[in-house]
């Protein structure tokens, strides 16, 4: 599968599609450490690097990778790392540093069932960590949740674009199934994402400019508060400009599924199933988890009978949905955990239980 023709339809694993897309997006360097279910990303890069002219390095740990990313991104390069849940937990300090130093980069979390060492099966248990901030302090990542192999590839471009525009680390959050499964896809075109070495990068202090400093330390609290205000303003700008979501049968939907990633695909099928029974269900699928599509959910809440949030976890995004709905109608939750994937049928049943047979609210 080394053919890099453009526009060719291919069958690829999500992990490989993502890696190939990153190369086409003009990746300069990748640093990472093996972990199931995402080791193919590193492996793909190692295989391609000599032929395609970018840098790849297997780090000694996830802690090392994220700090290598820090260095390389600080030097103005387009860089990424990837890992899976436990490995991403180890990166939390580094991520907080990167966010504060405002370094664009891409972090990929191909999640597995937790908590703890858990399983290697797919899960969405890292939503909170991704959007609320698993590290310390107030920071945000630009979080994209693909739901197909095609999007695993496409979103790499979006991630770099937004990341570099706002100087915010981007995170692609996809469960292990999306990493491991193969689907057909059309690869994005090589080189369509230009990169300019940023003027703030530590590339060597030339005579015509002051020295560039990459830091997240501001010992004066007044200064640190100003940094925080700056970050918050940036996050607000992103919330205004970069929200993305997808709708399915929402024109007349009374009962609204909200789900991201793989769960959203399963909900789509569930919509089909219950629509056949005459239930007017629809689906809102947040594509960006931060910024979260609050507004559409809030507006929908004005007319909907209720919401049903489906996640492969114990209930995380459901809180953001509740915050957006703000009491305007009931919000129910259906989840599977520990690597289990819900079936469209069980989701359909759950919806009927709540909205047709009226069981208690979660």
């Amino acid at each position: 599968m080394e053919n890099t023709n453009k526009k060719e339809v291919r069958l690829m694993k999500g992990n490989e599609a993502l890696a190939e897309a990153a190369i086409r997006a003009g990746l300069h360097a990748y640093f990472g450490y093996p972990i199931t279910p995402q080791s193919e990303i590193l492996e793909y890069f190692e295989e391609q690097a000599p032929k395609r002219g970018f840098t790849v390095l297997q780090a000694e740990s996830e802690v090392a990778s994220i700090n290598m990313i820090y260095g390389a991104a600080g030097a103005g390069a387009r860089v990424m790392t990837s890992s899976s849940s436990p490995g991403v937990s180890l990166m939390q300090e580094g991520i907080s540093y990167i966010a504060t130093a405002e370094l664009p980069c891409l972090i990929v979390n191909i999640t597995r069932g937790g908590p703890g060492l858990g399983t290697i099966q797919p899960s969405q248990g890292d939503y909170f960590q991704s959007v609320k901030g698993g590290g310390h302090g107030d920071y945000k990542l630009f979080v994209l949740a693909p739901s197909s192999v095609q999007e695993m590839a496409d979103f790499v471009f979006d991630a770099f674009r937004v990341s570099e525009k706002y100087r915010i680390p981007a995170l692609i959050l996809a469960d292990g199934a999306l990493g491991q499964m193969m689907e057909k896809l059309t690869l994005p075109e090589e080189g369509s994402l230009p990169h300019v070495t940023p003027e703030w990068g530590t590339t060597g202090k030339t005579k015509d400019r002051e020295r560039n400093i990459i830091t997240s330390l501001h010992i004066q609290p007044e200064k640190m508060e100003a940094i925080n205000h700056h970050l918050q303003a940036k996050y607000k700008a992103i919330e205004e400009a970069e929200v993305r979501y997808e709708e399915y049968f929402m024109e007349d939907a009374e009962i609204v599924f909200v789900a991201f990633g793989l769960s959203a695909r399963i909900c789509q099928k569930a919509v089909d199933i219950v629509r056949e029974k005459g239930i007017k269900a629809g689906l809102i699928r947040p594509i960006t988890l931060f910024p979260f599509p609050k507004q559409i959910i809030s507006e929908t809440a004005n007319r909907a009978v209720g919401f049903m949030v489906v996640e492969m976890n114990a209930g995380q995004m459901v809180e953001d949905v509740q915050l957006a709905v703000n009491g305007k109608c009931p919000v129910y939750f259906k989840g599977r955990m520990g690597g289990m994937i819900p079936t469209p049928e069980e989701i359909a049943v759950a919806l009927e239980e709540k909205f047709i047979h009226h069981e208690e609210k979660v």
Binding site: H28, T203, R211, I213, L217
Partner: protein, 264 residues
């Protein structure tokens, strides 16, 4: 103070251009200042200010970037060499150095230290060994001496409980990736001269792409040691040097680390 009236005066020593005018925040007599200055002198003399990127640690020298007038990054505690690796790998033509204390490099950063050197990253690692955690108020460092009283070894470092001082420099010198390893100090004019020579070589070697240069600087922490600066210099000589003797540990050409077990 006025300059005494002497004719035909020429400057024979002034602080390097690549040092900013910001006064150091270090305690009186702290070796970090000398180390910073000498590093910048070398960069001045080699004329590589435009091509050098430094990485500051977490430790008292966290603000090194306030003083060094070059592009710099401040890395997470213990990860300076990982950050330096990231920089060097994307800017292989530039000079990259990391600057770390003993807590940073030899405690929390041990894995990064060992693996950076083992990969033979073409960077210079500067290692300030003051046998204590200066910044956080004088706790034991991996390099603290046996019996040394610190805020976390109030009864003296007890090797039976917490082990012997870690000679990380000797350790990494064993790795084939280490190209040039030396231990220096900043307590006397001559020590400073030697250090400067070593730093200069290290930058020159970096052009050769032969591996990691690693320079330990045995330094002092008058505050952490609760000694005056002068007493601290004496303490270095009497207590630090027996454990951390100065000199070259590995010099190019003479590979001390064969891929066998010859060190047994």
């Amino acid at each position: 103070m006025e300059i005494p009236v002497l004719e035909n005066l020429e400057v024979v020593y002034k602080k390097p251009e690549t040092l900013t005018d910001t006064p150091f925040h270090y305690c009186p007599g702290c070796g970090h200042g000398v180390a910073h200055r000498v590093l910048m002198e070398v960069i001045d003399e080699l004329g590589i200010q435009e091509e050098t990127i430094g990485v500051a640690p977490v430790g008292c020298s966290v603000f090194a970037y306030h003083y060094m007038n070059i592009d710099m990054q401040q890395a997470a505690h213990g990860r300076a060499s990982a950050a330096a690796t990231g920089i060097k790998r994307v800017l292989p033509e530039k000079y990259v150095f990391s600057y770390q204390g003993d807590g940073d490099l030899a405690a929390i950063g041990t894995a990064e230290t060992i693996h950076t050197v083992n990969r033979g990253e073409n960077i210079l690692m500067v290692f300030i060994n003051n046998a204590i955690y200066g910044m956080t108020g004088g706790q034991m460092a991996p390099t603290s001496l046996c019996g040394q009283v610190t805020s976390t070894t109030p009864y003296g470092r007890d090797p039976a409980k917490i082990g012997f001082p870690l000679k990380i420099t000797e350790l990494i010198a064993q790795l084939p990736g280490a190209y040039f390893v030396a231990r220096h100090a900043v307590h006397t004019p001559n020590a400073v001269r030697k250090l400067k020579k070593a730093l200069r070589s290290a930058f020159e070697y970096q052009k050769l792409n032969k591996g990691t240069c690693f320079i330990e600087i045995v330094s002092n922490c008058p505050s952490g040691w609760k000694l005056s600066p002068l007493e601290s210099q004496k303490w270095i000589e009497e207590n630090m040097f027996p454990m951390y003797p100065l000199g070259d540990i590995k010099v190019p050409g003479k590979n001390i680390t064969a891929p066998s077990t010859e060190n047994n």
